[in-house]
């Protein structure tokens, strides 16, 4: 293992220190491991909290700021944060209009956020939750923990964040979050495993000439393991199952071509060219595009594609001003 670390046990604490020093628009509660906006939202607006295991940066802490999240709870690498962190964050960001918890569908995250929501409700705070589950790689969700929450989380945090700045109430925010979750799908592929610092060796063995199709953001197995192919073929393996799973019609859609942490941007752009070609062939018009590292899996080489069908409402919210370390425009 060759990484920029001091001690495998202090990776998260040391990284939070860097976040606090790098981003004056954010404040870090080191004890509870929560990242907040330095300037809280005004009273009467719904607050948004997300969180999860670390190692997916910029998700979620990098999306704390105007137009997106109010707070992000950081767990250990690939381990859910705990309810006391989430409860502390919920109490801190509540501006009297209720709090939405944005949860990726992983058992640990779901259970911990559920407990936090119960504890917050017992303290009289109105809390609602949305569980993002967009990963089409998980086929049979009746007999599993269900589809995992991956790339769509980024788009949802942006869109719902804009709506909360507008001053929409909690019920409207929940309905919007459900709408985004219902209209988006993702699929990922890994060329290499990732290495968790505390473990020190790759999470799974992937031979040099193989790739894992449908990988999860912690290196969970996907649909199949196949021999490496040209980028144009790999793009088909990502786009085809997404288009088969949801009727995107002729669009418009927002597309995110996301790097998993260890793939250079030149390859991500190359992949986006292939994805764009496939969408054009399928007659799906693309309204907006993000290419870059937004929800990563430590040092994994690979990428994921997220496609969200949008209407004027969603597109307007997407274009609204946002200012976070991870996404910034219109300001």
């Amino acid at each position: 293992m060759k990484k920029f670390i001091n001690d495998p046990a202090s990776v998260l604490a040391d990284a939070l220190n860097g976040i606090a020093k790098a981003h004056p628009d954010q404040t870090v509660d080191f004890k509870n491991r929560v990242i907040y906006r330095a300037a809280p939202k005004e009273a009467g607006k719904v607050a948004l909290i997300s969180g999860g295991g670390s190692g997916h940066e910029p998700l979620h802490g990098g999306f704390v700021g105007y137009g997106m999240l109010d707070a992000a709870c950081a767990g250990e690498v690939f381990t859910s944060p705990t309810p006391d962190q989430m409860l502390e964050a919920t109490n801190t960001v509540n501006r009297g209009a209720g709090v939405l918890h944005i949860v990726k569908n992983y058992t640990g995250d779901v259970l911990n956020f559920e407990m936090a929501a119960e504890l917050a409700a017992a303290e009289g705070i109105e809390v609602a939750s949305v569980v993002v589950n967009d990963d089409v790689a998980v086929e049979d969700s009746t007999w599993t923990a269900g589809r995992r929450g991956v790339g769509l989380t980024v788009l949802l945090e942006k869109i719902v964040g804009a709506a909360s700045e507008e001053g929409r109430d909690l019920a409207a925010i929940v309905a919007l979050a459900e709408k985004v979750n219902a209209n988006g799908r993702s699929m990922g592929i890994a060329l290499t495993s990732c290495t968790v610092p505390a473990v020190g060796k790759p999470t799974f063995d992937l031979p040099e000439d193989q790739m894992e199709v449908g990988v999860g953001i912690h290196g969970e197995p996907g649909r199949s393991r196949v021999a490496i192919e040209p980028a144009s073929k790999i793009a088909e393996r990502l786009v085809t199952p997404i288009l088969a799973d949801f009727q995107f019609g002729d669009g418009p859609v927002i597309v995110m071509l996301n790097g998993l942490g260890g793939t250079p941007l030149i390859e991500l752009y190359l992949m986006y060219a292939e994805v764009a070609k496939l969408l054009e062939q399928a007659g799906v018009s693309v309204a907006r595009v993000l290419v870059g590292n937004y929800i990563t899996s430590l040092d994994m080489q690979g990428c994921s594609v997220t496609i969200l069908k949008v209407d004027d409402e969603l597109l307007g919210l997407w274009d609204a001003p946002v200012s976070t370390p991870g996404i910034r425009w219109g300001i």
Partner: protein, 213 residues
């Protein structure tokens, strides 16, 4: 005081034994979890129980309810993953059901265990055969209840429960996981004991030892 009642002291002894068990078996639990999960069950449980023993040492809970609620809250805030909320809820609900008493008679312990298990089911939504800790807890509670109904004291009843727990744990081997990260493996999860079912069996066997003393 009935001779066989379970006191706060006995429960603290139980928790110390469970702490030692998960610490000693840390690598084994992690090995089970590497096969079908995310390889952190041993480390998470050991960290959680160490924190529990520290909390108990600092708080010195006087009642069963206070003790078990302290355990639950500590686990919830120190374990993370799925085991934190599940074990945390188990102890919290046991504590709430027990209230401010200083000892539990056999039927009181049954009521507490049942409340704990109901909390686990409510939280995890597992069913029998899903290859989870519920596959250990459910037969254990059935065995305990049957023994108490037949007039047993807590000691022999919890011994029956511990035996049923071990059988329940072993039965998870051939099951296909339907909950948690193991469920993504589908049939590839067959042939591995469930880590949560395994630590749950340790929880019951250490309780049996503590009560037998």
């Amino acid at each position: 005081m009935a001779m066989d009642n379970v006191t706060v002291e006995t429960l603290v002894d139980w928790l110390a034994r469970f702490d030692s068990a998960v610490t000693e078996q840390r690598d084994y639990l992690t090995e089970l979890d590497s096969a079908i999960g995310d390889a952190d069950h041993g480390a998470n449980m050991a960290r959680g129980m160490t924190a529990v023993m520290e909390s108990i040492g600092a708080v010195h809970p006087g009642t069963v309810g206070e003790l078990l609620k302290t355990v639950g809250m500590t686990l919830v805030s120190s374990v993370g993953g799925a085991s934190g909320p599940l074990y945390g809820t188990f102890f919290l609900r046991m504590g709430i059901a027990s209230g401010s008493v200083t000892e539990l008679a056999a039927p009181d312990l049954e009521r507490a265990l049942r409340a704990g298990l109901e909390g686990v089911v409510q939280r995890g939504k597992a069913e029998l055969g899903d290859k989870t800790m519920y596959d250990t807890f459910f037969p254990a509670l059935e065995a305990y209840a049957a023994a108490v109904a037949a007039g047993s004291d807590a000691g022999p009843a919890i011994e029956a429960a511990a035996r049923a727990a071990e059988e329940g744990r072993d039965a998870t081997g051939p099951m296909i996981a339907r909950k948690g990260r193991a469920s993504y493996l589908g049939e590839r999860s067959i042939g591995h004991l469930d880590p949560g079912a395994t630590s749950a069996a340790m929880l019951l066997s250490t309780l049996a030892i503590a009560i037998a003393r």
